[in-house]
């Protein structure tokens, strides 16, 4: 292929008009003034909400079905988590899958939203939600237990759809 190096011309030499400076000022002002007529780029955030697409990696949540969470407490997510944010403790149930997490905590101060937990989970039990508004006022509040991690599967359709279609 024709890849060549270009030696650019000397650009520093300003011509007469550029040296005069005032025409350049006028040009700059024209450019800035033009911006007045371009559409507004910013968003008035709390009023105008940002709605992420299915590929968005928000806060990781546990998928909840009618009879409880999908998680079988295999501990794979807590092993892979690069930020060591997840703590899982397994318990036994009489449900079909026999195991469930008796304790499942994600420390949201540690989580880096990498999505690895979701990627390795063999049960599609932990996925990244669209929730990006996380506020807490102290360290204890930042450790999300099962009560705050469980999210009904109906709210996660976008993400599950995305995972099925575009990932493996």
């Amino acid at each position: 292929m024709a890849i060549k190096s270009v030696q650019a011309k000397q650009v520093k030499q300003l011509n007469f008009w550029e040296k005069l400076y005032l025409p350049e000022i006028a040009r700059g002002l024209t450019l800035t003034f033009k911006q007045v007529f371009t559409p507004k780029f910013t968003r008035e955030y709390p009023e105008e909400r940002f709605i992420p697409a299915g590929s968005y990696r928000g806060r990781p949540v546990l998928v909840e079905e009618e009879n409880g969470e999908r998680c079988v407490a295999c501990g794979l997510c807590s092993r892979v988590c690069p930020a060591i944010a997840i703590e899982v403790q397994a318990g036994e149930t009489t449900r079909e899958k026999e195991r469930y997490p008796s304790k499942f905590e994600i420390n949201m101060l540690r989580c880096i939203y990498c999505g690895y937990c979701e990627e390795v989970c063999p049960e599609e039990a932990i996925v990244m939600s669209k929730d990006y508004e996380l506020v807490f006022t102290n360290v204890e509040d930042a450790i999300f237990g099962k009560d705050r991690l469980l999210m009904p599967v109906s709210q996660l359709q976008d993400r599950l759809e995305f995972l099925r279609q575009y990932r493996g």
Binding site: Q10, T32, G115, E119, Y166
Partner: protein, 426 residues
Amino acid sequence: MNIGSTATLERVTDLRQRKILSKVIDKDTTISLEGRDPLENTMILNMGPQHPATHGVLRVLLRLDGETVEKCIPELGYLHRGYEKLGENMTYHEFLPHTDRLDYLSPMSNNVAYAMAVEKVLGLEIPPRAAWIRTMICELARISSHLLAMGAMSMDCGAITMLLWTFRERERLYDIFEKICGARFTTSYTRIGGVANDFTPDIIPMIRKFIDQFPAQLRDFEGLVNRNRIFVERVSGIGYMSAEEAIQLGMTGPCLRGSGVAHDLRRDEPYLLYDQLDFDVITYADGDCFARYMVRGDEMKESVKIVRQLLDKIPDGPVLANEAKQVLPGKVEIYTKMEELIQDFMLVNFGQQTEPGEIYSCIESPKGELGFYITSDGSGQAWRMKIRSPSFCNLQALQPMCEGAMISDVVAIIGSIDPVMGEADK
């Protein structure tokens, strides 16, 4: 000796500071006013690490004679997080999100560089579509990084409008990144053996739209300052770096090309799809701040060219290599097949099994040559990982560039080197 005690730590810090200081001071630096003209003395100025124009936490110690910089000692390491060591303590897979945080202005190309290095260790081939996606995101990352460099350097010289405008364009790029991988900044998008997920159908039109409007925007940016006498005279002729010295210092990327050396890994050691693409290697011979600034502007145009060519030939197929022993299996297979499920567990727990050996793999990141040197002992994690970060090497040029310059030039010089401290300090 009790290493951990505060007193010892204080002593070490003190010693270190004194050592640095003694580099800048010579015997006549101490100020004595008796019988002498105060203007004969030199002054030590401590710039950074919190100075906004040092692009992060770079600390520069300057010895000034009036307004002239007599000596300049850059001190690096304020953002040292030990990434090389971290890389030796986790599996190859787990380290990937950490690469986002090296050069945080172009995380996509860091991801690519790291994944390519590990693939070299494993001897893994990636599918054509994955290579295509990687080339594409590398070029988009280059545009976004150069946009910031351009805006930040202009702002350092007083043109604040530029920064706002370039940030707006970057925002559009980040919207694309967010659609691609789900995060704007910390992308963690590549995987060993490919990329995490395929493009959704709306991404190609988004990139097309961006590429169509971008050249006009770039013309506006350039119209604003490139021929403006204040800016041109402010940045031209300062921070001179000759081609020979630049090579000796190990500079790469736009800084090296700004000194007139046509060295670009995309052309000289083609990787991914670059050997099938038609683009120019931009060089400017002047070797001053303005030349380095101009190189970045023109490189963005080349990137636009590359993205246009890429958009014309989109290959189909998988985005992750189908290599059971080394690449995480697909989700559907994990859910349904026992073999893949076991594979998933093995890979996550023990990592890929590698051949013992040493490799070096590098790419042309927006800042220059970004390389990973991995020594593998056959286990799932690197025995030694060295990161050759372009910003670190480029920053070595700060001293020769600044010495003899005016104090007000220092800011412009740092801006033109465009260091990212996350990468320089690792």
